[in-house]
Every structure is written in structure tokens, then in C-alpha cells.
């Protein structure tokens, strides 16, 4: 049986500190459940625990300590979540049918994170009858389930997974699963090249080792075998370079592929000629080796974080389907089928799929993600509610004004900034060097040839030799290796780059813009409440009243206090405040205006402050503020030292005081997504290379427009639109270190470039004087590449360290 893997929370953590949830290991605060089977942070965790035990899956807790996923968020959510999967059209996106009553469904499961998860998710067949097999993918965070449609279905499976605490993401864009094809092909090319390299070396060493020429019998055999081995390398492994070169030739935009292709062609061509004409042994060992090293570089280039889906659009933020009132009955309808005029019914926490008109009296909607506004806003009958808003509190009915595709949310994505792919500096550099290399190489080759003319044979030899040696192998290795290493280190530190090249762009940033809500402050939902001038009892009274309202602030206040009942005659003026009698005491709670109207006292209207009075006493303020992200201010300040730093907030100026300390005058509030985008453009016009740090949809434009867009995210599962990198919320303080690290990576690359140039020049000297022997090439080629590898690896080890994420 399994004992705890050492990868989990160390035991002493569990011993000391607050009691930890038996299931998820979270600290047990209010709402904790103590049952015969142990202490749980919430009822949800307990039920999962019991479910597992009921199915003899207790081993789940053996391979890691408290591996579960906290159920506090999902607890009590309505179970319509996966109803959409009943719809064929929707389901077809996840399900593959095979004959004989067998289907396979693949879900992406953000919560899948450890050995225990893997273990459990591959044993669903024990829990759900009709499931015949399931395979989890730790890296992609997905699970593939084979099942018998006659016995169960995707919806039931999804619900089962959710019940186990592994809620599948089935948003409109779920499963941005990376296609392994490309990488497979690369592995194959690499394998073939490596194989050929090894064997060609085998048949070349004898000649180098042997002073005297080999017996003709072996000479012939080895040459033949070498050609045989080199063939697949030319036709298969190196194919991409020739394609690339051909493409660049046609489009007249020379890339680095060109000199490589030319070099390879020269290598193989000349080798073949020498072997066929028996005038020499050729350079096939160098040829195969070269391709091998080049492909290793490519491997690093293709590095990516499979588990993160970049480039997701707003659609992934929308639900798969919503309830639509068709006459008397409510029909679950995929959002693509929504038409203008449909009446949609949205429960608490559901997202508005398309712009519509509010049919109910009034309701609260939280636009934090779309606009960056902190507090939920009040909407009244007839108001337009734009897509992307999240319903807070009571259920709302909307009459859609236009289909999803035309909603304000969708329009944001039609902005040209999303159309054009971002310019990556590395590509520019490589393209530049590529041109330089090709021209230089060709001219040198021609020059060398002329010099030796009319000795045609010698001229050709020199020309080919130049082309061979000019092939920028080490050069092309430098960037991918260094950036790949950087990308890995950053990933371990909690900063995930979209591609290695992003590290290079990071290193050139001159200005940094921060979004406020969700970036410098933690996301809008957990508001911290501070009662001023109230005793615990009084606060409790106010809390109990607040519990009666659905207004987000009220909910926050109520949440801060364990609520209760015994409340009479509650009167709520939507969006303003409410009054009622709690334990026989008259309690008033609301905005300054409301207080002013209800009580005689006049109190100032301060953003983020609510007032409360008990039995007509002097109203006391209640501060409901979203807490600043720990270390965020420090991070911003640190960055500000050598970058022009701005604050771009979609929110009102409530927080101005607090942040002016960090940003001084450089603050802009009430910024619409377009405003932010324009601001970025403005600075870029001023010659800045801008880094935008944001989170929500409202930053999407800015993130896309900026030279580098970093999305702050508390769970890599959440939507990160149009960004080049994702930084885990708790790592924001590292930002300055990250930039420093990126700059270092750039220095290393420059150094490697320099070294590889030295090698090329040295080789050229040999080539031009016609002294480039196969042996020299065979040594020079790998040695130069290996130097680069060593150099890059060695230098990246030293210097600024990023402490890895615990």
C-alpha cells in the first residue's frame, strides 16, 4: 500500500497552525464541519471524503496528505452547470463516438494537480457504472474517459467528476489542448538525425584514427553506409530548413533558415560528389551532426507550458448555454442559438451571455471583470446590461438585444489589435542576422572562388567550404537554449511565458503599466470589511440586517459576521440601503444619501464607505475595501526605480490616495478597455516599450497592444486573454526580479552570439585558404555548438536567482 509521497505538504504544517481540512488541507475557518470521520473546511469537502470511502477509494488520501480540492467555492452551486452536455451539438465538442456502444469524452480539469488526483481520476470506473476506462494527463490537466453511452453520458460523468471535486471546465472554449503532432514530428526528426549522426561517426572515425588509408573494401563499404545514413537526415530531418529557405526565397524575406539550408546543401552536395568521384571522404559526419544540433535547438524553441491555454478569447468567459424562457417552460439553449428577443434567466453568479434589457425591477451585476469596476452596480428595469457581467444575488430575467456575436464584449475582440500577431523581437533579430549571414556567406564564397580561379576544382572546394562553415549552427542554438532555460526557471518561479522569445521582449521593457482591480488588489469577490466605532454585538446586529440584502456590499458585511434571524419589517431601497428591526433594535444601513434621508444625520459620501446607525444614534462608517495584493505596492515601487510606471484603473478614483504614494501623478482612473489600449499606444508612440500587467477582460486590449502583456492570475485555469505571460498572483512581488533575470538572459545570448561569430570567422579563415578538412569540420562543428550549450547553461546558472515557488 502507498505511503505519503514526499511531494506534499510537510507534516509539521498539519501539526501546527489551524486545524487542516482532512480532504483539502485548507485551514478550517468559519463553516468548518466536524464529523466522526474528521474535520473538514466545508460540507463539500466532507461529502467528497465520504463518497471516496464509500467506493473503497480511500487510498486517495494515502499517496498525498490532504490532496483534495477545497469545495468551499463550488459548494451549493446549482447543478445545471453541465446540463449543456445533454445537447448533442455541445457534447460533440467533447465526445468522440466509436462503434459498439463506446464513446470517449475528454474534459480539461484545472484542479488536477498531484499524484492523488491522477490516481483518483483514473479510477472513475469504480464510481460511475458504464465508465470503462479513464486516463488522466497530469501536464495538460485533462482526463479522457471511455464510457458506454447506453449506461452513462458526458453530463453524468462531468457531474460525477465535479462531485469528486474535479469540476471540468466546459466553457465555450474548453480544451485548448496543444496538438502534439508538431512535437512528435520533431522528436522523430531528432531521433533519426541522432541515430544517423552516431552511425556516420562510427564509420568516419576509422579513417581519422587510421594513419594509413583503409583497405579499399572497407572504404567503399563505409562510404556507402554513410551516404545511406545521411539520406534520411537530408530528406526527413532537415526538411524544415529547406522548406523555410524556399518560403523565404519566394517571399523575399530572408530568414536564418536560408544560410542554414545553403550550408546543409553545400555539405551534402560536396560530400556526395567527393564520395562518388572517390576524391575524398566527404563531410557527412559534420552534416548529420549539424542537423542533430540544430534540431536540439528547435526542441528548446518549441518549449511551451502545455497546461496553460494562452490566446483564449472572451468566449471562454461565457457559459456554454443558458436557460431561455420559451412560452411557459424554460429551455436550456446553447449560447450560439440565442437570438435577439430571447428572454434568458440568469441565477446568482451566472454570466450575462449577450447584451440585453433588464426585465426585473432591479438587480445587482458585477462588471469587475469587464470594466474593472470594484463594486457591483445596480441596474433597473429597462437598463441595458452588457455581456460579461456577473449576476449577484437574486435571479434576473433579461431580454436579449442582440446575439452573442454582436455583443459589446464580442466587439472588443474585433479590434484590430487582436488581429495582427505580436512582433517578437527575436524574430526581427534573427531575420536581420539571417539576411546579413546569407549575403556575407554568398559574397565570401564567390570571392574565395574568384581568388582561386582558374583552378576550378579548388575554387569550388573553397566556395563550398565557405558556405559550409558559414552555416550559423552555434548561432541558432544560442537563443533557444538560453531563452528555454530562462522560460523553465521563470516557470518554476510562477511566471509562465507563452514562448521562450517573450523573455527577450521582457528584457527590453522601458515602461510598465499596472491595472488596479484584480492586479494590485485581489479579485473583487472577497471584500474586507472594517466596522468603525462599533462593539462586536452592534456589528453583529448590522451584519444580520445586511444578510437580508442581495447587494454585494451588504453581502460582504453579512459575510464578515455569522448571520442569524429574528429580523422584522426589512425595507430595502435597491442600490441605496436597507433598514429593519433586529432583536427589537432599529438598524439602518446604506449609502450616505440613504442615511441622510432616513436618519437626521448628514454624513459625507466617501467612496468605498457604507454607513450604519442603530436606534438613531450617530451613524458610523463601515469600510468595505478590497485588500491590496500582498507585496503589490512594493513590487510596483521596485519596478518604478528603472521604469516609467503607470496605474491604469477602470475603477473610480476611490483608491487614489493609497496609490499616489507609489505612482505619484502617473495614475488614470475610469479607463475603458479602449482607453487603456490607447494609453499603451500613446507611450509606445513616445518610444517606450511597454509592459502591461493586468487581469480582466478590460485589460485585454492593453495586454494585446503592449510589447509584453502579463496577466495576473490566481488560478492558471481562469481566463487570461491575449497575454504573453501569466504570473501567479502570489508571485507579483517577484516582478522586478523577473525583469532583471530577463535582462541577464539577453546578455548571455549576446555573449553566445559573439562566441559563435568567433568560431565562424576562425572556420572561414580555414575555408578561404582551402584548408577545411573533413576532420577540422567534424571537430569545429560540434565543439562550437557544445561551447554555446555550455556557455548558455553555465552563465544562466549564475547571476540573479529567482526563488522557485513553494
Amino acid at each position: 500500500m502507498m505511503t505519503a509521497l514526499d511531494t506534499s505538504i510537510p507534516d509539521q504544517d498539519l501539526a501546527t497552525g489551524p486545524t487542516r481540512c482532512r480532504h483539502c488541507g485548507d485551514a478550517c475557518r468559519s463553516g468548518a464541519v466536524t464529523s466522526p470521520s474528521g474535520v473538514f473546511c466545508c460540507a463539500g469537502c466532507e461529502s467528497v471524503y465520504l463518497l471516496l470511502h464509500a467506493h473503497g477509494l480511500a487510498d486517495y488520501y494515502r499517496c498525498e496528505i490532504a490532496p483534495g480540492v477545497s469545495q468551499r467555492q463550488t459548494a451549493g452551486a446549482p447543478d445545471q452547470r453541465f446540463a449543456a452536455l445533454d445537447d448533442e451539438a455541445v457534447a460533440s465538442r467533447f465526445v468522440t463516438r466509436f462503434g459498439n456502444d463506446l464513446s470517449r469524452v475528454t474534459f480539461s480539469i484545472p484542479a488536477l494537480h498531484c499524484a492523488s488526483c491522477l490516481w483518483l481520476l483514473e479510477r472513475i470506473w469504480r464510481v460511475e457504472s458504464g465508465v470503462t476506462r479513464s486516463e488522466a494527463h497530469l501536464l495538460h490537466r485533462s482526463v479522457t474517459v471511455e464510457f458506454k453511452p447506453s449506461r452513462t453520458g458526458p453530463r453524468r460523468i462531468a457531474e460525477r467528476l465535479a462531485a469528486l471535486g474535479y469540476e471540468p471546465v466546459i466553457d465555450a472554449e474548453a480544451l485548448a489542448t496543444p496538438v502534439p503532432r508538431v512535437r512528435r514530428r520533431l522528436y522523430l526528426r531528432l531521433g533519426v538525425a541522432g541515430f544517423a549522426f552516431g552511425n556516420v561517426m562510427l564509420f568516419s572515425i576509422p579513417r581519422y584514427a587510421n594513419g594509413a588509408p583503409l583497405e579499399p573494401f572497407f572504404q567503399a563499404m563505409f562510404d556507402a553506409l554513410n551516404v545511406l545514413f545521411a539520406l534520411p537526415v537530408l530528406l526527413f530531418s532537415a526538411a524544415d530548413y529547406f522548406r523555410g529557405a524556399w518560403r523565404s526565397a519566394r517571399t523575399r524575406t530572408i530568414t536564418l533558415d536560408a544560410p542554414i539550408a545553403i550550408g546543409l546543401a553545400a555539405l551534402f552536395g560536396r560530400s556526395l560528389f567527393e564520395i562518388v568521384t572517390r576524391t575524398g571522404e566527404g563531410f557527412l559526419d559534420s552534416f548529420t551532426g549539424l542537423v542533430f544540433f540544430l534540431l536540439i535547438g528547435k526542441l528548446f524553441q518549441q518549449k511551451a507550458f502545455d497546461r496553460l491555454a494562452f490566446d483564449r478569447t472572451a468566449r471562454s468567459f461565457l457559459p456554454l448555454s443558458v436557460v431561455v424562457e420559451r412560452g411557459p417552460d424554460a429551455v436550456l439553449t446553447p449560447i450560439d442559438r440565442l437570438r435577439a428577443g430571447d428572454v434568458v434567466v440568469l441565477r446568482h453568479n451566472e454570466v450575462v451571455p449577450a447584451d440585453g434589457v433588464l426585465l426585473d425591477e432591479d438587480g445587482a451585476i458585477d462588471f469587475a471583470f469587464v470594466t474593472g469596476e470594484q463594486a457591483a452596480v445596480q441596474r433597473h428595469r429597462g437598463d441595458i446590461v452588457i455581456a460579461g457581467g456577473r449576476v449577484v444575488g437574486r435571479t434576473l430575467r433579461l431580454s436579449l438585444a442582440r446575439p452573442v456575436s454582436h455583443s459589446a464584449l464580442a466587439r472588443l475582440w474585433t479590434h484590430p489589435v487582436f488581429a495582427a500577431p505580436k512582433r517578437v523581437w527575436l524574430d526581427d533579430v534573427l531575420a536581420h542576422f539571417g539576411r546579413w549571414f546569407t549575403v556575407a556567406a554568398l559574397m565570401l564564397a564567390a570571392g574565395g572562388a574568384m581568388w582561386w580561379w582558374p583552378d576550378a576544382r579548388r575554387a569550388v572546394e573553397v566556395a563550398t567550404a565557405v558556405l559550409i562553415i558559414a552555416c550559423p549552427c552555434a548561432f541558432t542554438l544560442a537563443a533557444p537554449l538560453t531563452l528555454g532555460t530562462a522560460m523553465g526557471a521563470l516557470g518554476r518561479a510562477g511566471i509562465f511565458l507563452k514562448s521562450p522569445a517573450v523573455a527577450l521582449d521582457l528584457s527590453r521593457v522601458t515602461a510598465v503599466a499596472f491595472d488596479k482591480t484584480g492586479t494590485l488588489t485581489t479579485s473583487g469577490r472577497e471584500t474586507s470589511v472594517r466596522f468603525h466605532g462599533r462593539t462586536g454585538d452592534e456589528a453583529r446586529l448590522i451584519g444580520r440586517l445586511a444578510a437580508q440584502s442581495s447587494h454585494p456590499v451588504s453581502r460582504a458585511i453579512a459575510g464578515a459576521i455569522s448571520g442569524g434571524d429574528g429580523i422584522d419589517d426589512v425595507i430595502e431601497v435597491a442600490g441605496l440601503g436597507l433598514r429593519g428591526t433586529v432583536d427589537g433594535r432599529a438598524v439602518v444601513l446604506g449609502s450616505a444619501a440613504f442615511i441622510g434621508a432616513v436618519t437626521a444625520h448628514h454624513v459625507p459620501a466617501i467612496a468605498g464607505v457604507t454607513w450604519a446607525a442603530i436606534d438613531g444614534d450617530l451613524p458610523q462608517p463601515i469600510e468595505a475595501t478590497t485588500p491590496e495584493r500582498p507585496g503589490a505596492a512594493a513590487a510596483a515601487t521596485a519596478v518604478a526605480r528603472d521604469h516609467e510606471t503607470w496605474l491604469l484603473s477602470g475603477d473610480d478614483a476611490a483608491a487614489e490616495r493609497r496609490w499616489s504614494a507609489v505612482f505619484g501623478e502617473r495614475m488614470r482612473f475610469r479607463q475603458s478597455p479602449e482607453d487603456k489600449l490607447d494609453a499603451i499606444r500613446e507611450w509606445q508612440a513616445r518610444g517606450h516599450r511597454v509592459l502591461m500587467v493586468g487581469d480582466g477582460l478590460n485589460d485585454a486590449g492593453a495586454l494585446a497592444a503592449a510589447d509584453v502583456g502579463i496577466a495576473v492570475s490566481d488560478s492558471t485555469a481562469c481566463l487570461v486573454p491575449a497575454c504573453d505571460a501569466i504570473i501567479a498572483g502570489d508571485r507579483l512581488p517577484q516582478l522586478d526580479a523577473v525583469l532583471a533575470y530577463a535582462r541577464r538572459a539577453r546578455t548571455v545570448i549576446v555573449l553566445c552570439f559573439a562566441v559563435s561569430i568567433v568560431y565562424n570567422v576562425g572556420g572561414l579563415a580555414l575555408a578561404l585558404t582551402g584548408r577545411l578538412t573533413p576532420l577540422a569540420t567534424a571537430i569545429l562543428m560540434p565543439v562550437s555548438s557544445l561551447t554555446i550549450v555550455g556557455l548558455s547553461a553555465g552563465l544562466m546558472r549564475r547571476g540573479p536567482r529567482l526563488e522557485p515557488r513553494p
Partner: protein, 57 residues
């Protein structure tokens, strides 16, 4: 020393065989996921006690 040819032939055959095996493995997706398998092999087997079948002792 023509025996060397024999050895190279033999070795070559094996090598070619492995190259094919490699090609198969890669394209069958054997190396797509290098994260889960080393973890998966640690798990103990599902002894079928809970399927009301006791392992013969």
C-alpha cells in the same frame, strides 16, 4: 577482416530495428506525456477485495 562486415551488418539490423521501434513509439504518442507515467507506475494495483473477491492466500 571481412568478419567486421558481418558484425556491422548484424549490428546495423538491430539498430535499424530500434530506429523503427523509436519511430513507432514517438508517433504512437508514447512520449507525449512524460509527466504522468513515472507517477502512475508508483500506484499499487487495484486489488479486487471490494469486488467481493478475496485474493487467494
Amino acid at each position: 577482416m571481412s568478419v567486421i562486415a558481418l558484425l556491422i551488418g548484424a549490428g546495423g539490423l538491430v539498430a535499424a530495428g530500434f530506429l523503427f521501434a523509436f519511430a513507432w513509439a514517438v508517433s504512437a504518442g508514447q512520449f507525449d506525456d512524460t509527466t504522468s507515467p513515472p507517477v502512475r507506475m508508483l500506484f499499487d494495483d487495484d486489488h479486487s477485495e471490494d469486488a467481493n473477491v478475496q485474493p487467494r492466500l
